[in-house]
Subunit: 451 residues, 2 copies
Amino acid sequence: MQQRKITLDENQIPRQWLNIIPYLKNPPAPYLNPQTLEPASPEDMAVIFPEALLQQEMSTDPWIDIPDPVLDFLSIWRPTPLVRAYGLEKALNTPAKIYYKNESLSPAGSHKPNTAIAQAYYNKMAGVKRMTTETGAGQWGCALSLCCNHFDLECKVYMVKVSSQQKPHRLTMMRIWGASVTPSPSDETEAGRSILAQDPDSPGSLGIAISEAVEDAAKRDDTKYGLGSVLNHVLLHQTIIGLEAMKQLEQIEIEPDVVIGCVGGGSNFAGLAFPFCVEKSAGKDIQIIAVEPTACPTMTKGVLTYDFGDTAKMTPLMRMHTLGHDFIPPGIHAGGLRYHGVGPLISCAIEEGLVEPRSVPQTSIFNAAITFARSEGIVPAPEASHAVAAVVDEAIKAREEGKEKTILFNFCGHGHFDMTAYESYFGGKLIDYEYPEEKVKEALARLPKLA
Amino acid sequence: MQQRKITLDENQIPRQWLNIIPYLKNPPAPYLNPQTLEPASPEDMAVIFPEALLQQEMSTDPWIDIPDPVLDFLSIWRPTPLVRAYGLEKALNTPAKIYYKNESLSPAGSHKPNTAIAQAYYNKMAGVKRMTTETGAGQWGCALSLCCNHFDLECKVYMVKVSSQQKPHRLTMMRIWGASVTPSPSDETEAGRSILAQDPDSPGSLGIAISEAVEDAAKRDDTKYGLGSVLNHVLLHQTIIGLEAMKQLEQIEIEPDVVIGCVGGGSNFAGLAFPFCVEKSAGKDIQIIAVEPTACPTMTKGVLTYDFGDTAKMTPLMRMHTLGHDFIPPGIHAGGLRYHGVGPLISCAIEEGLVEPRSVPQTSIFNAAITFARSEGIVPAPEASHAVAAVVDEAIKAREEGKEKTILFNFCGHGHFDMTAYESYFGGKLIDYEYPEEKVKEALARLPKLA
């Protein structure tokens, strides 16, 4: 029988995270204080993050130790298997070898708990009693609920209102883990009230929900804020994925030609890809592809500039590819990955030529999802299906070119809570949408002018 | 760090299933033809099952080889880890060691694909083009959809109408794998039309859906029927769970004192427990507990007698514990496990004193589910939570008795598609219900008198 899963023992879980910053030619630009537009001080950030995470955010050490209590919790589902996608290869009739890291096996169903458990741990150690966050599709909210519960922290989740209506089951799952969930915009924060005053029927957005969660954390001494993507320390915590994959590929003596991940804020992509970016920066020949929706084309149509992380302009400004912090994704978009910006480190990697961005329309995404579900068994989340869509394209290209490439991708989550999106697909209700460049220009014209 | 998961390599997946029949003191009673009430002939059964499965149904060989194409598919998620439930032990403050087989990791989310893939394989080998089945909560319908798709068989699922309304997402998942799903009772079969004529608003039941699926299969030459539990060959295919668990326990040199599983038709229970029943029949001291809902108390209040497997009396009669084939579970019951009967081999094992049945009310089940989700991370299906509830009771008993028992149980499925039931629980809408003995007596009085 063919070996399908390349596995590691629990004692082979990596003991350190890999920090890409020292391997970049240019260090990432400093964050800016949202009031002064001057470089943000550690004190600015300490209102909402504990010191240990701020140190990681700024660290230039290449390796950072993973604390034992974090490793212990990760062992519930880690190491995740590296899976040879024999079924998908056969379905595509490709000479390419396709491998994926199955990050859907965590209790929350995605890669998100890799960082949620680290964030909950460092907050617990800092004496924090309560964490706030935002969630869109619900993957991150579930992950932080799960991990706060593990360390006996209260968890308060602001969930994008339209998502809380479309995906009430994610809300229930968060309650199972003891979290309290509020649809956003809400009347519990100034940011929420001000949005509701302008538009009582606002469907909400990630940017708005972040404003509410940050405001809540800033107001209370016992409370800090956790973000599920974008920031350096979040991407750092995810590198355990790529480090495991490297050990697994070594076992079978294979090196990938192409590495693929989907990008919202960039955490699952960075998690798999950054260790390979480090190898690429040292001269290795690897193609590294970051995939996003055409409906939210942050990397492919956005502009690399300073922007706020949230709608109410409460977070520091970060230099990143952005569509503008007041971006609201089109209602017809069911494919996930709706954040207006992207992790500053992803932007650095694109700028340095390590990463190649690409966008895919949502009907291609769901076509690829069905192909994957029927050939590999597992039903992918729409987010993961962006990666699958690019894998399908690359595998077909390999067939056309007659090349026996090795493709590695991150299967970042299952689609068990995305059945409404699949129903829209089967019902023919999904329309492809290209976000227009003019709207990006208009949005960026609204940004503050920097010196 | 403590080792949490005891794992096996893919090449350690058992190569044979274990048949309990040769280890029973008394062989199971023959099935009876539903018209003549005489022992059913192989021809009676061949209308709806392929010969290879009928041979397994009657086999007295202790070991039966698992075909390679079945093993290959099983390797998508098998071997499943044996997990030490440190979190649950701590939450219960018990000296007991608790281990569980995590069968929720299959693409369909439960143990059901273990037999679905074998059934699809033998049907494919027999030249069958199309399979029919019934499903209640949707676990089995999903499993057969997944596995028929793998072998390019059409799959037609009759889904209990009330479940298809309460759990539309399970229906979507079956469509993702290419199945066609019809709410039951439907107007597509005589059985369905006759029920609808009596009660146009019938919520349906497993017994009715089985009648429709069997009738559909019997009518068409290219079609056979697949059952997700109850029958000998189905229970046989699940023994891979217990056989893996034994290998894993050997690795850590531990023997269980208590083995626990939940019972609807009995397949996940038998899968884990039968290999241990064989050891018990050879003299080993193990307590083996089968758990069912008080709302559907087949083993604890049902009577061991011949009854039909379906409402329309189309299937052979089987000697089993039964509440009567016209049983319809109470509407307030959210806890799964709603079949009126139980696998004849489970009944034999109870009769021979190998297995101890027990019933649990649904609020205890959901209390246990929340305890498990918050201590072990994973959200259990209501079905699996029956086993968890009994584990909790046994672990507390061990604490009270000061005994360091080892408890092994089957975590047969996750609850990702059961959020509506959890919502009812949080909303205080779940009421405990004891099915009354008089109703069992009335139902059994309606059974045909045998010579």
